[in-house]
Symmetry: C2
Subunit: 160 residues, 2 copies
């Protein structure tokens, strides 16, 4: 279970490529851990956790298309995940005033309680994974990744 995704680079191995492969490896290591623990401790999945996490910040709920955009997946999938969570009583659909096509999805009181416990654990897993870095290093990484994210965002606007 060690890994060497970093072998994936082409022969010239420019620095950006090595960086990407290492980033992918790190992300997969942490993500695999999170998925496994979510399954083991809470019998849930990352997309379901994601959806609830989005809702936690919006007590009034989010519309389906907003959720789709935030989770970066298509609408049909959000419907499916939402259906599961509704079935478990963790979220609920409520009508939107003035537009009878739309819904808001929001956490139920029970959903909020369950999510709080998951988030507490999730936080601990993440802290463990990044615990090796000093606060300054964390801040540095955060800033550099911010540039990439911003750059991606800007590129999209240019071609839109």
């Amino acid at each position: 279970m060690l890994m060497d995704l970093e072998a994936r680079g082409h022969s010239e191995h420019p620095e950006a490529l090595r960086l990407w492969l290492r980033m992918l490896t790190c992300t997969q290591l942490v993500e695999k851990q999170v998925r496994t623990q979510l399954r083991k401790q809470f019998d849930t999945t990352l997309p379901r956790f994601d959806l609830m996490a989005q809702l936690e910040r919006y007590p009034e709920g989010l519309k389906m298309n907003e959720m789709s955009r935030r989770m970066m997946v298509t609408g049909g999938n959000v419907t499916g995940i939402t259906d599961q969570l509704v079935g478990e009583g963790l979220v609920e659909r409520v009508g939107v005033q003035g537009d009878r096509r739309a819904y808001r999805v929001r956490l139920t009181p029970r959903g909020r309680k369950v999510f709080d416990e998951m988030a507490r654990q999730h936080e601990a897993w993440i802290m463990a994974a990044f615990g090796v870095l000093s606060p300054r290093e964390v801040e540095s990484l955060h800033r550099l990744l911010g540039k990439i994210k911003q750059h991606h965002h800007d590129s999209r606007l240019e071609t839109a």
Copy 2:
């Protein structure tokens, strides 16, 4: 198609958590781009590209269990992906001397040629994604992520 996975943090938002969410966002942005382009330009997938990339570094081929470890997936999946690539004439299985249970998988000449072209494109996509960073910033990111990877590796050894 904007995103806000970074909403996923819990209310306290410690720095490590914010870092993780941003890292996940960045990775998904780039990965989605790579998957889409691999599909559009080469009608292939990331795992298939991964497998071939591993082989490119080992002209003599890799055994199935080595491949499984490197790709961080279980053996059955490697069999499936290999089967696809064999079917397309891009890789081949060759026997291992002295152990009739084992195989090596290696690129065929055609597979190598096809992979070279894919890798060339792949490199360009990555360079575009990370082009906003200076060489020093790339090096800095690479080093910091290396600490995380190493830390993860060490943690596993402790509990093994």
